[in-house]
Symmetry: C2
Subunit: 211 residues, 2 copies
């Protein structure tokens, strides 16, 4: 039985909606922006700043040459980014201990890799992501299709780089997830209803009873 569901998602794929609905249906806690708020509280950095660090790729180490050897030099922004990641990992571990929960993003699938997790990856085709972004808010409504496409690709590139930097794994690689869900032309409510069944004791008993 899983106590923790982690959700990685392409931008505009409806992964957050899926996570929120799933948490509601299962009576699980739901963590997304709450993680950013908690990091902000513990580090005394603004939520906006923390969000920016977590959503953007970390500043890479800049090696400088002294004589014939290379020495990595710690960049102050890099150090802060690493501190934020440490806090993030600590908070996610605490949350996962407190109660059954759904955690969106934040490398949670990697941070909690020693636990029994249900790891979901939610994706969709570009057209479907553009349409979902348009429905999200007035800011996105104003953008052209080309601008939205560019924004989606940029956010996903940053997510992939952040994930890869801290986990050493490829974001979106099938083997890092238990179930990958294509939300193109699919009703998220239906997907939630189905995944919910994985937590249904009758289904589990039924599956075990079969030879």
């Amino acid at each position: 039985m899983y106590n923790v569901i982690t959700i990685s998602r392409q931008f505009g794929s409806g992964g957050r909606e899926l996570g929120r609905r799933l948490a509601e249906e299962l009576g699980f806690a739901y963590y997304d922006d709450e993680i950013i708020a908690e990091i902000s509280k513990r580090t005394s950095l603004s939520e906006e700043y923390v969000q920016q660090i977590v959503e953007h790729r970390p500043v890479t180490l800049m090696p400088i040459t002294i004589g014939h050897s290379f020495y990595p030099v710690q960049h102050p922004l890099m150090e802060q980014s690493q501190n934020i990641y440490q806090e993030q990992a600590e908070i996610i571990r605490e949350m996962s201990e407190k109660s059954p929960c759904v955690i969106v993003g934040c490398c949670a699938d990697y941070i909690l890799r020693d636990k029994k997790l249900l790891r979901l990856f939610v994706f969709a085709d570009m057209q479907s992501k553009i349409e979902r972004c348009r429905l999200k808010g007035p800011d996105e409504e104003k953008l052209t299709e080309k601008q939205l496409r560019k924004q989606i690709l940029k956010v996903e590139k940053n997510r992939a780089k952040y994930y890869e930097f801290y986990t050493g794994r490829a974001w979106g690689d099938k083997l890092n997830y238990d179930l990958l869900i294509n939300t193109t032309n699919t009703d998220i409510k239906l997907i939630v209803s189905v995944i919910k069944r994985m937590f249904d004791k009758n289904v589990l008993a039924e599956a075990e009873a079969k030879e």
Copy 2:
């Protein structure tokens, strides 16, 4: 509501077992080797030969140079491979019309792309595939881990090439499937019980009733 489920699968991932059990649970027809047998009947080629063509990558066109131009020359084996593919496509279309069914492999997801399908891709990590292969039969039992790994990679390479040749799509690319299922450390019976729920009228009604 889906009437046809297509299953693409990595070698040793348990995709066939998943398909067979799902068909049983749903009362759907199940097609796998039946397709090969039917092609063999219609083309008067032996089942072994048809299997070999379908499981192996097609012979590529060999351009020859005449003067300064390149002319593709039709290789007889290539022609036969294409005839087999045509028969395969025809049989799959007929089967999908006859009754609700589960079809394993054979580019069915592409051949039936204009229909409402549930397209599954079943995969697992290498260790798990090696262990499943070992359980399959006496031939595999005798192979070393290294030999099994080599065999798995070869079969998958051929599947990918066959699929890509006839569909122009990348085998295993997330966007070609609705659901990608990792069977590493997972009980196939549990997965079947859960996917079965996608066809449960109560689940569908429940999902639709939610705002």
